[in-house]
């Protein structure tokens, strides 16, 4: 397999990534390709980590959705006793599991937020969540900044936050908008329409359109963010996804028999809603996005953009020498015309004004 090699003379250049080139021939096979296999073997040996957070009012089917996504009982029992009184304050609970599929080991951490949006006064209910997310960044930063570092820093940073929108059919509520505004700046957010089996297909489309308008109007960038598209292929793929966000999903962890096949679904008096049937709900799209095609991308954006933003923010706060309660206060993103401190490195001013 003859390849081509280009040559450039560039002494000691450690920062340049675009050398001058001129071509010369590489005769025959060398074996550089084998590095891909080496990479794979190493990755499979160390295993992967993925942290997902689900946010939404209680009763929207978050735990069921997580169980459906990973096809297992992630939550052994419901994290909060559903029959008891609702918690007075917002509590975050996370659970970690190791799952394996075809030799690939994945350490999955799911963080649930029971009590979100359940109180009478929900002011600042996003603060514990923001604090939790920033806590994880802080842990990672502390590990990274040590003199004697570990080989592999355990990654507990939240890679994706799935926000469950109740299926009112109208538009995003003020709570949703406030929360999404704040969160999309620190973490990848994907909104989904929960319990979509209560909406007809037309209602779904109208709701979806309305939500997209609301997101645009308020300058909320959900994953996949337009500004991180690397090339035209990416853009085309992500545009298709962006058209369909928010996905209308239904979660189910019981199996029923339909036409002789065993499918996951919800059985009601008027029919069985098949979770994995694209005609019924858009769960497969969500699953494909989160797991099958964009998992690595989610981790990359968290590491290269959100974590770096946090780090810049933190290292610039040289007047805060010791950690105390409330040491990170993220100012709420208003309709700014100039990028503030919390802005992403790569988000330009136009993006802010145009929305995602």
């Amino acid at each position: 397999m003859a390849g081509t090699s280009k040559r450039s003379m560039s002494p000691h250049s450690s920062q340049s990534s675009s050398p001058r080139t001129s071509s010369c021939e590489m005769f025959g096979y060398v074996g550089i390709e084998a590095v891909l296999d080496q990479l794979k073997i190493k990755a499979m040996k160390t295993g992967f980590e993925f942290n997902i957070m689900v946010v939404g009012r209680s009763g929207l089917g978050k735990s069921t959705m997580v169980n459906t996504l990973f096809k297992s009982k992630v939550w052994k029992s419901s994290p909060v006793n559903k029959l008891g009184p609702l918690p007075q304050t917002l509590q975050l609970q996370s659970v970690t599991h190791t799952i394996e599929e075809k030799g690939v080991k994945l350490k999955l951490t799911v963080t649930d937020t029971p009590g979100f949006g359940d109180q009478i006064n929900n002011d600042k209910c996003w603060d514990p969540i923001l604090n939790y997310i920033n806590d994880q960044y802080e842990h990672y930063l502390q590990e990274e900044v040590l003199i004697t570092r570990q080989h592999h820093i355990p990654d507990t940073r939240v890679h994706i936050c799935v926000y469950f929108v109740p299926p009112t059919g109208h538009c995003l509520r003020p709570l949703d908008i406030e929360f999404l505004k704040r969160l999309c700046r620190v973490v990848n957010v994907v909104p989904v329409i929960a319990r979509a089996d209560s909406l007809t297909l037309e209602e779904r489309e109208a709701f979806r359109w309305q939500i997209q308008e609301d997101l645009k109007k308020n300058g909320i960038f959900v994953y996949p963010q337009k500004c991180f598209d690397e090339d035209t292929d990416d853009k085309a793929l992500n545009d298709k996804i962006r058209e369909k966000i928010p996905f209308a999903v239904v979660g189910a962890d019981r199996e029923h028999t339909v036409n002789g096949k065993c499918v996951l679904g919800r059985k009601t008096k008027w029919g069985i809603i098949e979770v994995e049937n694209m005609a019924h709900c858009e769960f497969p799209l969500l699953r494909d996005l989160l797991i099958r095609s964009h998992m690595q991308d989610l981790k990359d954006i968290t590491h290269n953009v959100h974590y770096e933003n946090y780090r810049v923010h933190r290292l610039n706060e040289s007047h805060l020498l010791t950690k105390g309660a409330g040491w990170v206060t993220l100012s709420p993103p208003s309709r700014r015309t100039t990028p503030g401190r919390c802005q992403s490195l790569r988000w330009s001013q136009e993006d802010l004004e145009n929305g995602s």
Partner: protein, 445 residues
């Protein structure tokens, strides 16, 4: 299968931001007792494509690999690299008369099917040529440290972009040993000893076609025992992964590889092979009976390139970073055994630095003013001199002029005198002419 229910729950309470953790979410203590529960999944989830996603991202980013070749001039470094990567990198023969050792880095972009590799080859120019070789290995150590330093600086920046940083740290060092057949030279030993904690050293016996098979065996054994007895840590191919452990451990037994490099092709049978042709035979580069070149290529590129890069990053770079940060005065644990915040350390350093800078600024300002004054004085001098010259010239000029005036006056007087004389002589001539004319008339009549 789950043995015991060791699912971890972490509860954060929102009241006033106080955290109460039942078990810590992330931290060192969890590693030993909190093992995440193994979950069985009933069905196809789909994250088996994760390694492929990772590989795709790496392909997009491209790979980079940096090799350092250390060896005497003319030992065959460039030829071997050419042969390894099957291309003509077009390097010139270097002279033997360099006053000191220099490192020359050249960057190439190779592509094989979908893999793009940015290869940097660093050569030592003039190694082993000097009469006094005491300073020979220092430039090499400095170069390696400089690359680590550049990476460290990038990592310590506040606004950094590590993901598209071109990694220039040396991943592998090929050390070329002369095929004397006896033992390591002192220079080799010293150089390898100073490099072994900074880079992955792979010793190779160069120009192996000058040693016979039996001598080669003895030479290899001698070399390895010398390296071991002097405590030089050369790179051992990793044997912890089942897919590669067998081949790697057998290769470890063949170290150091005896290699022959050549890009010239010789016809053998009905094929063209890379070989060196001698009157007594043909040494084939890719024949395992003739030399270990194929083994080297296997090990360096096909099997362990990723491991070399990882070792460089996790072992050598971390060691450098630790030493450098400790040298700069950062510590993980302060004297009272409390974890020191990096912020404090940064703050202190920053104040010191600002103080220094202020002082330096003052110094430079004063020096500047002083210099300006000096320059002004000099220029004034020059101006004065110039003025004096000008005056002098002016005076000369005046004198010249006056002289010329004099001369002119004289000349004019002469002219007047001359015209007078001329007028007088004319008159005389006329009178004489008239007188002779009358005489003629009188004679005639």
């Amino acid at each position: 299968m789950t043995s015991s229910d060791v699912a971890r729950h972490t509860v954060y309470q929102a009241l006033g931001g106080i955290k109460t953790c039942s078990t810590s979410q992330a931290g060192k203590e969890e590693k030993t007792d909190d093992i995440p529960r193994c979950l069985t999944i009933n069905g196809h989830v789909g994250f088996e494509s994760l390694p492929d996603q990772l590989v795709n991202r790496s392909i997009q980013q491209g790979f980079c690999f940096n090799i350092l070749c250390v060896g005497e001039t003319g030992i065959g470094k460039s030829t071997l690299i050419d042969t390894l990567f099957n291309t003509n990198f077009d390097d010139f023969e270097s002279s033997h008369f360099h006053p000191n050792v220099r490192l020359k880095a050249q960057m190439y972009e190779l592509q094989e099917s979908s893999v793009r590799l940015k290869l940097t080859v660093v050569n030592t120019v003039g190694f082993g040529d000097q009469i006094n070789k005491e300073e020979s290995y220092q430039p090499i150590v400095d170069y390696i440290d400089a690359q680590f330093e550049a990476y460290l600086q990038e990592e310590l920046k506040i606004k950094r972009s590590l993901f598209n940083y071109h990694d220039s740290r040396i991943h592998a060092c090929l050390y070329f040993i002369s095929p004397t057949g006896h033992s390591l030279k002192t220079l080799d030993l010293l150089t390898m000893k100073s490099l072994d904690s900074k880079v992955n050293i792979i010793p190779v016996i160069a120009k192996a076609d000058t040693i016979s098979k039996t001598e080669l065996q003895k030479f290899k054994i001698k070399l390895m025992s010398e390296l071991v007895s002097n405590g030089v840590q050369i790179y051992q191919f990793p044997t912890d992964d089942e897919t590669t452990s067998q081949i790697n451990s057998s290769m470890n037994g063949h170290l150091p590889f005896a290699v022959v490099g050549s890009m010239e092709e010789v016809k053998l049978g009905n094929k063209m092979v890379k070989a060196r042709q001698y009157p007594w035979g043909i040494v084939q580069v890719e024949n395992e009976n003739h030399c270990d070149f194929v083994k080297l290529r296997e090990m360096l590129i096909c099997t362990n390139m990723e491991d070399l890069r990882e070792q460089t990053h996790t072992r050598h770079y971390e060691l450098y970073r630790r030493c450098k940060l400790e040298e700069m005065g950062f510590k993980d644990v302060s004297p009272e055994n409390k974890p020191v915040s990096l912020q404090e350390a940064y703050e202190i350093k920053r104040h010191e630095f600002y103080g220094e800078r202020q002082r330096k600024e003052e110094e430079m300002k004063q020096m500047f003013v002083h210099r300006v004054k000096e320059k002004e004085a000099i220029m004034k001098e020059a101006e004065r001199e110039l003025q004096a010259k000008f005056e002098h010239l002016k005076r000369l000029h005046q004198e010249e002029r006056m002289k010329l005036e004099e001369k002119r006056r004289c000349l004019e007087e002469e002219i007047i005198a001359f015209t007078k004389k001329k007028a007088a002589s004319d008159l005389l001539q006329n009178q004489s002419l008239n007188a002779s004319g009358q005489c003629e008339e009188r004679k005639g009549s």
